[in-house]
Symmetry: C2
């Protein structure tokens, strides 16, 4: 591993290429599993030799971590921003879930990897950041749910919602006749009194 170039002109290409690796890795990991996918296969997909990958990432695990970070960080940021706007609890919940579902379906591969490699993420010091991001997001959702008029106890509503939305990554197809917004509206309708 070498690290990012300091010259700005090169930095851009470096970042783009690195991003491509993450993208292809997410696709491959989602389809064939993290352990099953070899660095050789990943390199071949990118049209690179094996060793070249280590110019962009220090290890296979760091590729996985980049996938998780790129999944969680923008979601957390956008959700925080959204909840800064004052609005009724129902409306906040609706917009939050819509944002969330849209994010999940836009990053389906990332999500599937995130779910499949749960056992890795749960244990291990280096995964602490990812775990706390997820926790922070869950707290945001919990906060909104507590304000909204629900049909069930807020704790169960949170767990149910987490299950519904995360599971969306496993069945959503872009060509399907349900848009992310419709899906989100459906979920919210189940929860609200």
């Amino acid at each position: 591993m070498a690290g990012a170039p300091s010259r700005p002109a090169l930095r851009e290409r470096y970042d783009r290429r690195r991003q491509e690796v993450v993208y292809e890795a997410a696709k491959a990991f989602a389809r064939h599993g993290y352990d099953t996918t070899t660095m050789q296969e990943l390199a071949a997909t990118m049209g690179l030799a094996t060793g070249a990958l280590y110019h962009y990432f220090g290890s296979k695990e760091q590729v996985l971590m980049a996938i998780c970070d790129q999944l969680m960080d923008p979601l957390l940021e956008q959700a925080t921003e959204l909840l800064h706007e004052p609005a009724s609890p129902e409306r906040q919940l609706g917009e939050l879930v819509e944002l969330w579902v849209a994010h999940v379906v836009a990053h389906r591969d990332h999500m599937l990897v995130f779910q499949q490699e749960r056992h890795l993420i749960e244990s291990g010091e280096q995964w602490r950041g990812v775990r706390s991001s997820r926790k922070a997001f869950e707290r945001l959702v919990a906060g909104v749910l507590e304000q909204a008029p629900l049909r069930t106890d807020p704790r169960l509503a949170l767990l149910a919602l987490l299950g519904m939305v995360n599971h969306t990554a496993q069945w959503y197809r872009p060509r399907g006749d349900l848009s992310p917004a419709q899906i989100a509206a459906g979920y919210v309708a189940l929860l609200l009194a």
Copy 2:
């Protein structure tokens, strides 16, 4: 691999031991992942030498398949039986979900493995049986949902329910203050009009 003994007296012990392997494997696979867990570790947990595992299973993958079969087959059977009893759609839905949730929490490790190794199960001829069992169960649930008075379109209700119930395996703790029956009732309450 040797196969089951023909003498009935030994057959019983063989089956019991084999079952222990499945149980320990589910626990280890759920915690550390299927690929990460080695046959050496699994054997050591059982107090066996490595090669002895192959007396009970022809391969590591067959252990995984036993886990999946033991998860799906009883569930499918019990659900089928339940739905043979005549009852109102609401009541059938309630009982089915209660049975389902109880099964999921009683076989949490099996469930977690089943979810984490989705990519393996999705592809591969040898997994056809497991896939069709899951599909059959989903059809059972779909059939009940179509009869019941729901708050949303039955397709989305099915997907939402699948997400909620399956996700239960990830957070349920026996010492928690929600019983499987309460959880199931909460889920059903969300769906019914």
